[in-house]
């Protein structure tokens, strides 16, 4: 490297936005999940332009992972949307944890409208991440609906992240993560809820060479 190049000092903001040539060469690429161990499990993050699934029972950390993915996408300058069946979003906690609420398109809807709303969002184009939150929804979607959503995600370059209670997408998902029951931790006495640990297992996308990890442990802290 020349002495002139060594002496070159880049603007820190510009440096933070520089994209490596390897990343540019990558055809589809991955986007960070916002949680480093999960990125390790997924081989770099959630796949772009694909349907992804995250499933587990209540209090397994699905919502926290979804919110982390949204925060990471917004931090990267992407446009994001959350299709929230039941309108369960905890805006106060989301804002406190650094998610810029004004940058999030939030759609509250009934389960029957959720797929149609996600279709509309993805078809608009330009959305980096669209989350379909079906955690508490009793929805029997036909396979054709998932096929259509997968095609739309592929065409528009959107990562569609579906959060559910049980596995629903099957082979339609390019990556699926199963969350295995959160283990809550209390400290005290008197007992105070501190958070919980959960184990994330890759249920689909195991052929990825980037990742050699079968599962990772994730820790979620309570807001209080």
């Amino acid at each position: 490297m020349s002495s002139r190049a060594q002496g070159l000092v880049l603007d820190p903001e510009l440096t933070a936005r520089l994209v490596s040539s390897e990343r540019l060469a990558e055809a589809r690429g991955r986007r960070s999940s916002g949680i480093a161990p999960l990125d390790g499990l997924l081989g770099g993050g959630w796949p772009r332009a694909a349907l992804c699934e995250i499933f587990g029972r209540r209090s397994s950390g699905r919502t926290a992972i979804v919110r982390a993915a949204l925060a990471a996408a917004i931090a990267a300058g992407e446009t994001t949307a959350l299709v929230d069946t039941g309108g369960t979003l905890d805006a106060r906690a989301a804002a406190a944890s650094g998610l810029p609420l004004s940058a999030l398109l939030w759609i509250r809807c009934a389960p029957a409208q959720a797929l149609k709303a996600t279709d509309l969002v993805v078809a608009a184009g330009g959305f980096g991440v669209a989350v379909l939150d079906l955690c508490d929804a009793q929805l029997r979607a036909p396979d054709a609906a998932w096929v259509r959503l997968r095609h739309a995600a592929r065409a528009q370059g959107t990562t569609v992240l579906v959060a559910t209670g049980t596995r629903r997408l099957g082979s339609f998902a390019a990556a699926a993560v199963e969350l295995d029951g959160g283990r809550p931790s209390f400290f005290g006495p008197p007992p105070l809820f501190a958070g919980f640990y959960t184990r994330a297992t890759r249920a689909r996308g195991a052929h990825d060479r980037e990742s050699q990890l079968p599962c990772v442990s994730l820790a979620f802290t309570s807001r209080s």
């Binding site: 810029p100 809807c109 209390f186």
Partner: protein
């Protein structure tokens, strides 16, 4: 200066045909009544004239002459909407337009830069745009208003030379009756043996003024290319209106939505001609036998998609149906520019502004406008309080990625009432609609209260004891006991 004149002959009939485009190309006539007299044919198209229909016939006579004739009744709503739509032909090309009955005038000087092929191309573009709005128009470009008016009456498309001599030469062969609507004046010129503009131009203007007064002098000056009629252009109105008076009352929403689709299509065609979108809708429905139903249809963002607007109107009608049958509809669309955004070379491209606006409107039509937007924190200690703000992705800035992963509470809104069994150390079991479980660990209570200053109507004061409980189904729930009624409510669960 160059002025464009767009002339729509028989504007009232063409305005009525706009709401019934399938009648184009068939014999059609307009009926109008004066006082208590029977309605008579006042305007008719070329097909009807060919079939033998003449102005002044009654409806029965006209139909007997041409059985395939479509008869329309002249309504004020059609006339107003037609005149406004004609003005919009001009506003699509110029910021200010002068309206004059069946014609509009506007300055066309700057259009030469947009149409380098020349003025014939401008005239064709104007005629094509008028056709898109449902008008068969004649177009003329000239240096003065009078010359443009006469040329538009004489030719389908006309470009009058810019200089005075050229204008005079262009007008010279045209018959005198095109220059004035005054029958006395026409008769006077006929008596003099002056049948063309060239013959009038040869007469001294002072002598014509002495014999025929100022109107005769104006015709003489116009024939010589000396027209000095002033041009009074005006800015477009703030809102765009389309209206229809129905021949029969409509009782159901779907047929009404079908009628409103036509109004919306026509309004959007006018807006798109001006590169605008619809930012708000007001619908005034005339009820049978009397009464008015006025409703504002909220839009999440400006849109040009008719289906979206009709869906929103249909939703609004379904939510609050009109109290009586509808006999007329008046649609007022608020124009707005489609949001523009500045792209960033270092950041991903977001959705296109117009696509996003349409998507927001369609989402609003699907789930209701109150359920689409950006979430916002409310200044309240109530944990479930949340607000929805309009979503505007422009001006997003990169935010730092949070360093730790925090738990989220999945709120139930409103909190669900549950049965809770209390022990000495807190809840020991809970039973709700979706949950029945033993409590393994209970943390709490955390007491919160507030809003004692609020009226009871606004929710009033509240006082709660919160518990975080680890239940035997594996979930960690958040519950509270309302201090006012002693009941337990499930706020949600951590996830």
């Amino acid at each position: 200066m160059r002025l464009a004149c767009v002339y729509v002959p028989q504007l009232a009939l063409q305005a009525a045909l706009r709401r019934c485009p399938e009648a184009l190309g068939t014999p059609a006539a307009l009926l109008a009544s004066h006082g208590k007299n029977k309605p008579r044919v006042t305007e008719l198209d070329a097909e009807a004239r060919r079939a033998g229909v003449r102005p002044g016939m009654t409806a029965a006579q006209a139909v007997a002459t041409a059985p395939a004739l479509r008869l329309f009744t002249a309504t004020a709503a059609d006339a107003e909407a037609g005149a406004a739509a004609l003005a919009d032909v001009g506003y699509a090309f110029a910021p200010r337009v002068e309206r004059e009955g069946e014609r509009i005038f506007f300055a066309a000087e700057d259009l030469k830069r947009l149409y380098p092929a020349g003025e014939p191309a401008i005239a064709q573009a104007l005629q094509a745009h008028a056709a898109r709005l449902g008008f068969g128009a004649r177009v003329a470009l000239a240096a003065t208003k009078g010359a443009a008016r006469v040329a538009s009456r004489a030719h389908e498309l006309a470009v009058v030379p810019e200089d005075r001599a050229g204008t005079r030469a262009f007008l010279a062969p045209l018959p005198v009756h095109l220059f004035t609507d005054d029958d006395d004046l026409r008769a006077a010129f006929r008596r003099w043996g002056t049948r063309t503009a060239g013959a009038i131009a040869a007469l001294p203007v002072d002598a014509v003024a002495l014999r025929l007064g100022p109107t005769g002098a104006a015709v003489a000056r116009l024939a010589r290319g000396d027209d000095d009629e002033p041009f009074h252009p005006q800015l477009p109105p703030d809102a765009l209106e389309e209206a229809i008076e129905l021949d029969y009352p409509i009782y159901e929403i779907e047929p009404l939505a079908f009628v409103l689709r036509g109004l919306t299509d026509r309004a959007l065609a006018r807006l798109s001609g001006r590169s605008l979108a619809c930012a708000g809708l007001t619908l005034r429905l005339a009820l049978d036998p009397r009464g008015l139903d006025v409703r504002e249809v909220p839009l999440a963002a400006p849109t040009r998609e008719a289906k979206t607007l009709v869906d929103l109107i249909r939703l609004d009608l379904a939510r609050r149906p009109p109290e009586a049958a509808v006999v007329g509809a008046h649609l007022i669309a608020l124009p707005a520019r489609v949001r523009a955004t500045q792209l960033d070379i270092l950041r991903p491209t977001g959705p296109a502004p117009d696509r996003l606006a349409t998507t927001l409107a369609r989402l609003a039509a699907l789930v209701g406008p109150e359920n689409v937007g950006a979430p916002a924190v409310v200044d309240s200690w109530r944990e479930e309080a949340i607000a929805m703000k309009p979503y505007a992705p422009a001006g997003l800035s990169s935010a730092p990625i949070p360093s730790e992963t925090r738990l989220c509470l999945r709120h139930r809104r409103p909190p669900e009432e549950v049965e809770v069994l209390m022990g000495r150390a807190g809840p020991t079991a809970l039973r709700g609609v979706e949950t029945t479980a033993r409590v393994l660990v209970a943390a709490g209570p955390y007491r919160l209260s507030g809003e004692w200053w609020q009226d009871a109507a606004a929710g009033g004061s509240w006082a709660r004891e919160y518990w975080d409980v680890h239940a035997s189904d594996g979930a960690v729930y958040r519950l509270h006991r309302d201090a006012r009624d002693g009941r337990f409510y499930l706020d949600g669960y951590y996830d």
